[in-house]
């Protein structure tokens, strides 16, 4: 490389590439870092937990190391009925969302309120924590901030789970992991576009709607409807159950794959599911030899399909 031309070329290369990196990496990151978490982002990041894709804590994307979203109707300390409150239960050992680890991600006002009023800095992964949201003012502006209920009210994760009924618990974090693992996002976007599109699929997301979420999994290749607000359009678990087991049961023209394997071995009553029999009977139904399709087995409460539907129900 003894040529002078190559020395000049190498320096020009560094300048060109460095310049393009500054414009395309440094500048946008400044704008994005200044964003403040919206209520949507707070909810999404706290039900999803630290990471919904691959992580060393959940290497096979089985829904490990994920929090629970619980609707509390009873005070976990006093056992007295109270006003309904949504809390996010991080059992001992569960990783916290990125915004608890680096509160700057919340954005300025929320960071201060969550640290000072919400005492999120005191949350310890080893002992677990229960988080909820509260409203507060910072420098004259109102924000939703995160409250570490374990510190402020003494609600330990075990206390909350003792008073919560199973139907009040959403495995939304594990469900989002199912969404990533099963590749739902290869056909369903999570991004209504800023054109007429949003009139069908709901409002497009805003700048602060993603803080601490990972992965965002927008999707780029739509072969089915957008799902960002699907829980608002259709909140029937029954419909979802039929649709996941075999989409052709509720929508004869659907090209969605069957997700019957997410039911696992057993149904809600602990009976072994006979998939071969079901499929044979379904073919009879499809060919007009049966009037009704075979009954879809009810899913077990710890089945992967329950996690996935729990998550879909949180997509408001």
């Amino acid at each position: 490389m003894a040529f002078r031309e190559y020395k000049i070329g190498a320096r020009m290369f560094a300048v060109c590439l460095g310049g393009s990196m500054i414009i395309t990496l440094l500048f946008p990151s400044i704008t994005v870092a200044k964003s403040t978490s919206s209520d949507v982002a707070l909810d999404k990041s706290f039900y999803a937990g630290h990471e919904s894709g691959f992580s060393l804590e959940d290497p096979f994307l089985l829904g490990w190391n994920k929090p629970l979203k619980v609707t509390l109707k009873v005070d976990p300390k006093t056992q007295q009925p109270m006003e309904q409150k949504t809390v996010y239960v991080y059992q001992p050992g569960t990783s916290f969302p990125a915004s608890i680890i680096h509160p700057r991600i919340f954005g300025k006002g929320i960071e201060e309120l969550s640290l000072q009023q919400g005492r999120v800095g005191e949350a310890k992964r080893e002992s677990g924590a229960v988080f909820g949201f509260a409203k507060g003012a910072f420098e004259g502006q109102e924000y939703s901030y995160v409250e570490n209920l374990t510190a402020t009210k003494g609600w330990a994760p075990a206390d909350v789970m003792r008073v919560a009924k199973d139907e009040d618990v959403l495995h939304a974090g594990a469900g989002k992991t199912m969404f990533v693992r099963e590749g739902c996002w290869w056909c369903h976007t999570m991004l209504p576009e800023e054109t007429q599109d949003w009139q069908v699929f709901g409002a497009p997301p805003m700048l602060g709607d993603f803080n601490a979420e990972s992965p965002t999994a927008f999707g780029s290749d739509r072969k089915g409807p957008d799902l960002l607000h699907v829980g608002s359009r259709n909140s029937s678990r029954e419909w979802m159950m039929l649709h996941f087991f075999n989409p052709r049961l509720v929508q004869p023209h659907s090209i969605m794959p069957r997700f019957d394997y997410l039911w696992g071995e057993k149904d809600a009553n602990g009976q072994k599911i006979d998939f071969d029999k079901w499929r044979a009977e379904y073919i009879e139904y499809r060919d007009g030899k049966r009037v009704n399709p075979p009954e879809v087995p009810a899913y077990g409460k710890d089945s992967e399909i329950r996690y996935l539907i729990d998550w879909i129900m949180s997509l408001k």
Binding site: M21, V32, V180, R181, C184, I255, P257
Partner: protein, 468 residues
């Protein structure tokens, strides 16, 4: 291959690593397009092979994409680098042994990575789906050894200057390492939110723009002058191509997220830079087509030239689409529709693959010193690839335009699905033709290695193509 892994570098015949890279590339091409065809069948007939998560569309789609990008295309690039870089430096490859180890590590790593991906072990980020330990493996065990071999061969050249192809090879191997290490930063450092979304597309954009496009172009800068015997039309235009790739292709990543809430200045900037990608594109296409002056008969007669020039001609609609579909005026209509799928296949299966296929055909015959076993099979391969791809591209483009219309006129989505059904069948047929062509190619290449007519010293394979 195994016996050479522990041999002395001097004892390894020149071209060995290119040969193994070449065969690996073809095998991955067969696997990748086979998966593509299978996936397409599932879109046309959703109950085709059902009830098993390992044959579910969502588990296989990304394996197809990664197998063709990091299996077929990147391995064919490595093959081309292993024989073209030394040829243009009038020297030997710096280390055949490193090349063979690189090929072995590549195949083993990619097999492992795709198996994990198939099982659903994914980062959930499009094009950077591999979990971060695999990304590190790809950077350090695949691209860095490849780069070292290329750079050292260029440095140890016995020519005074460096030919266009070798600038591109040396720069692109460097750039792809940077792209892997920066683009996967969200996984290494757990960056979240819009930063993650943006860097996902920064990676996806740059792996195409700074790796696949320039290396494919570099291959054509070698094969066309070499096979036709014409010197490259203009080195100055080559300079323009190279520098405009570095400046214009490295900047428009945000145009993949035109409807996401990224900063507006970034989207506008990316959109303008996206149109400027036409500068390197036009420079490249015109440079190669002008190099063909007086040798256009070879477009018909010579298999490698036909593949390359067809690829170059496909770069014209590719870049016209690419330059303008990302502007706001058009993007709102076609974003996230089958149009984009067609465009992606035009880039990777149309433009890029046709150039690499030519380089692999040419390189294999040169290294093996054997004439292609069957020119007829080669021609069938070409037509299966071209007709299969065209069927795919036309059907997906129409499907995408219908989908776009459905999107803006707020048609219930299921009606779009119904109307797209015939195009999904066409897509599957096209993909299956490509797959069939590649199976024939693998057979043809294998038989070339075993039974191809030996090329006499000092002759080139294509000169003998029509001799018996």
């Amino acid at each position: 291959m195994l016996k050479y892994l522990f041999a002395k570098n001097e004892d390894i015949p020149a071209g060995s690593s290119a040969l193994f890279f070449g065969f690996s590339a073809i095998v991955w091409f067969v696997i990748g397009t086979g998966l593509g065809s299978f996936n397409a069948a599932k879109l046309a007939f959703p109950d085709f092979v059902t009830g098993n998560e390992f044959f579910a569309f969502g588990h296989m789609r990304q394996v197809h994409v990664m197998a063709v990008i990091f299996g077929w295309i990147s391995l064919a690039f490595a093959m081309a680098m292993m024989y073209i870089t030394p040829a243009l430096g009038n020297t030997k490859l710096w280390s055949e042994k490193l090349g063979l180890w690189n090929c072995m590590l590549w195949n083993v790593g990619l097999t492992l990575a795709l198996t994990l991906l198939w099982a659903g072990v994914s980062s959930g980020r499009e094009y950077s789906d591999f979990p971060w330990p695999i990304d590190l493996y790809i950077a350090f065990c695949i691209f860095i050894p490849l780069g070292v071999n290329v750079w050292m061969t260029v440095i140890n050249r016995r020519t005074q200057g460096i030919y266009t192809t070798n600038w591109f090879f040396a720069a692109a191997t460097f750039l792809v390492i940077i792209v892997f290490l920066v683009g996967n930063a969200p996984e290494f450092f757990h960056l979240t939110g819009l930063t993650e979304a943006y860097l996902t597309w920064w990676f996806a954009h740059n792996v195409l723009g700074l790796w696949i496009t320039p290396v494919a172009a570099a291959i054509a800068y070698y094969t066309i002058p070499k096979i036709t015997g014409n010197p490259l039309y203009s080195h100055r235009i080559g300079h323009l191509h190279f520098w405009s790739i570095v400046v214009f292709y490295s900047t428009p990543a945000a145009h993949h997220l035109m409807s996401a809430p990224l900063p507006e200045w970034l989207k506008s900037f990316a959109s303008v830079e996206g149109v400027l990608i036409l500068v390197p594109a036009i420079a490249f296409v015109s440079n190669i087509l002008l190099t063909m002056q007086g040798k256009w008969h070879m477009f018909v007669e010579n298999l490698e030239t036909r593949f390359t020039i067809t690829g170059i001609l496909m770069a014209i609609p590719l870049n016209m689409q690419g330059g303008f579909q990302q502007t706001r005026a058009i993007n709102w209509y076609v974003h996230a529709t089958g149009w984009m799928v067609a465009h992606a296949h035009l880039a990777l299966l149309g433009f890029s693959t046709f150039l690499e296929v030519a380089a692999v055909y040419f390189g294999m015959q040169t290294i093996l010193k054997r004439k292609l076993y069957s020119l007829a099979l080669g021609n069938i391969h070409f037509w299966l690839l071209l007709i299969g791809f065209t069927t795919y591209w036309v059907s997906m483009t129409i499907a995408g335009l219908i989908q776009g219309a459905g999107k803006i006129y707020e048609v219930p989505y299921i009606d779009v699905v119904i109307v797209e059904h015939p195009y999904m069948i066409a897509r599957w047929l096209g993909g299956t033709m490509v797959f069939t062509g590649n199976v024939l190619w693998l057979y043809n290449m294998w038989m070339t290695a075993r039974e191809g007519t030996v090329i006499p010293e000092g002759r080139m394979a294509h000169e003998l193509a029509y001799e018996r």
